[in-house]
């Protein structure tokens, strides 16, 4: 009974709660409502994932209108997995933000902050769950518009220009997606993704379909910060409020990667994308360039948040490489990395937030001597950093290992070198931070700041422990990702 309603509730609960937050006015009450809603969304996502793993795809038709005409929500293993990632990260970040958000956001604006946060969550969940191409565009804009607001809420005025830059690039990206959806509707007369997947193979030679595919790839590429289109990302992450950086870094780009995977493998089909379009060579080159340039630039950053932003560009490069392999093992590596990167970046940004509040900044020099003053937070940052590098026993190692195996399967030796060099560069930029934390004494030693409150450490360590857990117990994460990848391949090709 109610289980059938879960896909709709997943999106509608945060959507309804968002304006309620505004009406509550009080930041504390808005926080309480947000975390309740986010936790409920997490429970729904877990239930959906279990349901999908047991019974296969769950379909919800809005208003009872059957698929090609009505809007359909279609939950299969791939998007149930992404839903679980997004809702769990959102809940952990909200746990952190009761105190974490109040440092940076004025109490009069906190209700607005939680309103935008829930709207952003709505948009991300909607993009993931929907089976309708135009609906996807609408949810994309909901999440984008609210994330521009969230980024602009930071105390630094550069947050405003970062949000503006993101708005311009994000709108161009979204409009490209709109053009693509229009062109697809022109030739097929349908907006339903499953229906499109059935109709498109017959239209493989149509120039309109090819143009639509190009527009779509570039549009989504802008949203997920694919290499030459990534310029908005480092500034947006650097100057947004810390909790927003953690939330967006761990969820927004992941959902965009999922959308790209969905369109390439499911809607257009891998034979169209890789055989009749030159997507493979483009993605390999851009993915490798992202890994190398993102990691190299990260080494030279003075602001650690910006450094983590460039490292995100590099990590997205690994995901693009996984997609470009056009094999089940490559896609599995990408999907596993969605989860693992969300855990490591979420943990790192939250740990950095703790340090920034106690030590007064996110510049490298601000962190001098943090190891003695904030031992737990520093340890969390180190473990997160090791995971980012891909050291064994951490989640980062699992996704790197899967990617390397997939690359070896395809016999792409140069890509293997790129991955190795990328990991070495990651060692370099994480080492700079570790050296500053542990081997330099504080610039003004008499000012002694203590460890952060346990209520902030708990969410940080939750993510860091998850990093280690998924580094040791891979059956669940890899198992689900593998089934999702097989389904995307075996599905309506």
């Amino acid at each position: 009974m109610t289980l059938a309603q879960l896909p709709a509730l997943q999106v509608i609960l945060p959507l309804i709660a968002a304006p309620l937050c505004l009406l509550l006015r009080s930041g504390r009450l808005a926080w309480l409502l947000s975390i309740l809603v986010s936790a409920t969304a997490l429970i729904i996502a877990v239930l959906l994932l279990r349901l999908v793993l047991e019974n296969g795809t769950v379909i919800y038709t809005y208003g009872g209108w059957a698929a090609p005409w009505g809007i359909e929500y279609r939950v299969d293993i791939a998007n149930a997995f992404v839903l679980a990632i997004v809702t769990s990260i959102s809940t952990v970040v909200l746990l952190f933000s009761r105190v974490g958000a109040s440092w940076e956001i004025k109490s009069s604006e906190q209700a607005l902050f939680y309103t935008s946060y829930l709207l952003c969550l709505t948009g991300l969940l909607g993009m993931t769950v929907t089976g309708d191409a135009f609906n996807l565009f609408v949810f994309l804009e909901i999440s984008s518009l609210s994330s521009y607001v969230l980024i602009a809420m930071g105390p630094d005025r550069r947050g405003l220009t970062a949000a503006y830059q993101y708005l311009i690039m994000g709108t161009i990206g979204a409009t490209f997606i709109l053009i693509a959806v229009g062109l697809l509707y022109m030739v097929t007369g349908t907006l339903n993704m499953a229906d499109l997947a059935n109709l498109l193979p017959a239209l493989e030679q149509s120039r309109t379909v090819r143009v639509a595919f190009a527009f779509l790839t570039v549009g989504i590429g802008l949203k997920l910060a694919m290499f030459p289109l990534h310029l908005w990302l480092p500034n947006a992450y650097a100057y947004a409020p810390h909790v927003v950086s953690a939330f967006l870094a761990a969820t927004a780009t992941k959902v965009a990667v999922y959308v790209l995977v969905r369109f390439i493998y499911d809607v257009f089909g891998s034979s169209f994308a890789f055989d009749s379009m030159p997507l493979q060579s483009i993605l390999v080159v851009l993915g490798a360039a992202a890994v190398l340039s993102g990691s190299t630039v990260a080494i030279f950053q003075h602001n650690i948040k910006r450094m983590l932003g460039y490292s995100s560009v590099a990590q997205i490069g690994y995901m693009i490489l996984g997609i470009s392999l056009a094999s089940v093992s490559g896609l599995t590596a990408t999907l596993v990395h969605l989860l693992n990167h969300a855990l490591m970046k979420g943990g790192l940004f939250l740990a950095l937030a703790c340090m920034a509040f106690q030590l007064g900044g996110t510049r490298l020099v601000d962190l001098a001597g943090a190891g003695r003053r904030m031992p737990w937070t520093s340890a969390a940052f180190v473990v997160g950093g090791l995971s980012l590098i891909g050291v064994p026993l951490t989640a980062g190692f699992v996704s790197k290992w899967l990617l390397v195996v997939a690359v070896l399967e395809a016999g792409w030796w140069p890509v293997l070198i790129v991955i190795a060099v990328g990991s070495l560069l990651a060692v370099a930029y994480i080492w700079r931070v570790i050296e500053m934390i542990y081997f330099r004494s504080a610039t003004n030693p008499d000012e002694h700041s203590e460890e952060t409150h346990w209520s902030l450490l708990a969410p940080v360590w939750l993510l860091i422990v998850a990093n280690v857990y998924f580094g040791l117990h891979t059956q669940w994460s890899v198992g689900v990702a593998q089934r999702a990848a097989q389904m995307l391949f075996g599905g309506q090709g």
């Binding site: 518009l145 602009a152 005025r157 220009t161 503006y164 229009g182």
Partner: protein
């Protein structure tokens, strides 16, 4: 002749490129928003054109009329127009805040102020 018959699509391409050029070339933040608007308007026209069925009437149910234009793209683009309005409003609000914080809405001046920090 076929090229001329598709004149609305030429309008779309012209508007799109104009808007895109303004976004890239202009240093004024408000002008960039105007460019984005032109860019989006071209897509609106693309959608509206594709709904037209030659010889079709407006999609209102009448006994005497047999062929109708397709109303769905028009409905879709109403949603996209609303999204466009929201984007413009948010963009302009950001420009106001930027102007308050930096005292200018010119991209070059803002970069100069950021770099001098």
């Amino acid at each position: 002749m076929e090229v001329l018959a598709l004149y609305n699509y030429w309008v779309v391409i012209f508007l799109m490129m104009t808007g895109f050029y303004v976004v890239i070339a202009s240093g004024n933040l408000v002008k960039k928003i105007i460019g984005i608007n032109l860019f989006q308007a071209s897509v609106f026209i693309l959608y509206i054109s594709m709904g037209k069925v030659s010889g079709g009437a407006a999609p209102i149910l009448r006994e005497t009329i047999q062929t109708y234009s397709n109303p769905l793209p028009h409905v879709l683009i109403l949603t996209a127009i609303v999204v466009g309005v929201a984007t413009t409003a948010l963009g302009l609000a950001l420009v106001v805040r930027i102007k308050e914080a930096y005292g200018t809405a010119e991209e070059d001046d803002i970069h100069r102020q950021d770099e001098s920090l």
